[in-house]
Amino acid sequence: MAGDVVLETEGLTKEFRGFVAVNDVSLRVHRGAIHALIGPNGAGKTTCFNLLTKFLEPTRGTITWQGRDITRAKPAEVARMGLVRSFQISAVFPHLTVLENVRVALQRARGSSYDFWRSERVLSRFDDRARELLADVHLSEYEAVPAGLLPYGRKRALEIATTLALEPEMLLLDEPTAGMTHEDVEHVVALIRRIRAGRTILMVEHNLSVVSGLSDTITVLTRGHVLAEGDYATVSANPEVRAAYLGSEEAA
């Protein structure tokens, strides 16, 4: 399955006042793959995401996206190159309606965002596409509801619909199923399966069953560095992974 490498890091390191949160991480994400990043709480997964999407500056190391060095790029530029992230804490625009949330993304991708002299009515030309995206995540009936009032699981679904509106080449999903009911988790997993066509996905996940069924490659992170990498069978058979990951799971 492995396509060419789209996203690559070399020796990626982030220190917070001496504390090394991400330590010499070299990742290769292949085109079209679902790549999972797992590890106990505090392993540095979110920090890693923040580095990849440029929300944080790396202390050392390089990031390459489709052959381009993006180590010093700005976060908005990275998003414009097709590398779009979600957040661990669900990120919606709470006072905008569900439909407007998706439209904000469509508007960015398709123009007219700087037009301060035109009526917002021109945005209604995005409504059809926004409704399609909402239908995909089973949110059609909520389109007029302010996003802040949605239950948690549906906020996550909305966030994914908003991200997909940009038609990104690569999605970075930070714990897309965190805090969800079992039913919602199944929804999201099914959704990720549907949207993977033509895309690359890097996801942080805590829920091992989600990872086992979905991902082509798993990278295990502990205390900032890569402990193991491979498919689910390889990684889960690794005694160090079992000790580090399962040990802390029991402790938690």
Binding site: F55, R85, F93, H95, E100, V104, Q107, S112, R121, L166
Partner: protein
């Protein structure tokens, strides 16, 4: 969602009726003052209410608008509309430079930088010869609108000021309810998310800042034509405080709040000045504290919350 809500249509109609009827009952000069400050507060509210940026230096744009318009009308012999326009252009340029410096910071740092830059402008105005120092620029001619309509009577000038206010008010309404305004809302609600969607948020903040500064310049320029005077008061920090206070009293982030706040504060200053003298400042301070502590939504904000309809 896309049509103007009924509540706002009614409020706008009421405001129009007041604007048209009041000069037959009240002093036009008082009303013109209210309208100038209402526009100033509306301009300020674009930033605090719709971008979430607290500028504490809007006196700089109001004051420069005032000085430049006064100078253009008096020294260059500009017609009043061109004089006000020059004030707006200079305020916008100043806003572009200061905004560019300030938007890189947020919260209290943003407020501090805008204040510091505005104080620089104040000190320049104290020293620069063209401002007339302590005297200011006096005896500014009101001139003829488009070189034709004589504005020396208060009543004639009133309609021009009312038109300027309405144009500015409607313009800012449009900005807030434009594709651009939608992005501003998104940035205010969740900036990190807006960035992750690829929005260059600094560009949006800067454009909003420049628009706000330009409108503040229009307000200052109009004020200079009305009172035929531009002074250091226009450009000093308490003037920035007026914008904050009026917007806070009226309701931050509401459409009709800032004009209501301006009306309340100017009326209070006028009425109480004769009774209380210098104590007006103390009363104002008290109102400010009361608003911050107990009355955060402001007058229009409270009404809006009671009605459950946008105003």
């Amino acid at each position: 969602m896309n049509a103007v809500p009924l509540s706002q249509r009614i409020a706008f109609a009421a405001m129009l009726v007041l604007i048209v009827a009041s000069p037959f009952v009240l002093y036009p000069v008082f009303l013109m003052k209210v309208l100038c400050f209402a526009l100033f507060a509306v301009a300020f509210n674009l930033l605090i209410g719709f971008v979430g940026l607290l500028s504490f230096g809007h006196a700089a744009y109001f004051g420069m608008g005032s000085y430049v318009s006064a100078h253009a009308a008096k020294v260059w012999g500009f017609t009043p509309e061109l004089a006000i326009l020059s004030g707006a252009v200079v305020a916008a340029l100043l806003g572009a430079a200061f905004g560019w410096l300030a938007i890189r910071r947020s919260g209290i740092y943003f407020a501090m930088i805008t204040l510091a830059l505005a104080q620089m402008v104040y000190f320049v105005c104290v020293q620069a010869p063209f401002t007339g120092g302590e005297d200011g620029i006096q005896a500014v001619p009101r001139g003829h609108l488009f070189g034709v309509v004589d504005l020396s009577s208060d009543f004639a000038l009133y309609w021009v000021v009312a038109a300027v206010f309405l144009a500015g008010f409607l313009f800012l309404y449009r900005v807030v309810h434009s594709p651009f305004g939608q992005v501003l809302k998104a940035i205010r609600e969740n900036e990190a998310r807006a960035v992750s969607l690829g929005y260059r948020v600094d560009d949006y903040k800067l454009i909003a800042f420049v628009l706000s500064a330009a409108l503040a310049g229009v307000a200052g320029g109009t004020k200079a034509i009305v009172f035929q005077l531009a002074t250091l008061t226009d450009v000093n920090w308490p003037m920035s405080g007026e914008a904050v206070l009026m917007t806070l009293v009226g309701g931050i982030g509401t459409i009709f709040g800032p004009p209501v706040g301006a009306l309340v504060i100017i009326t209070m200053q006028n009425e109480l000045a004769t009774i209380l003298g210098a104590w007006v400042t103390v009363v104002q301070g008290g109102i400010f504290v009361a608003c911050v502590l107990a009355f955060r939504r402001g007058i229009v904000g409270e009404i809006q919350a009671k009605l459950g309809k946008p105003l």
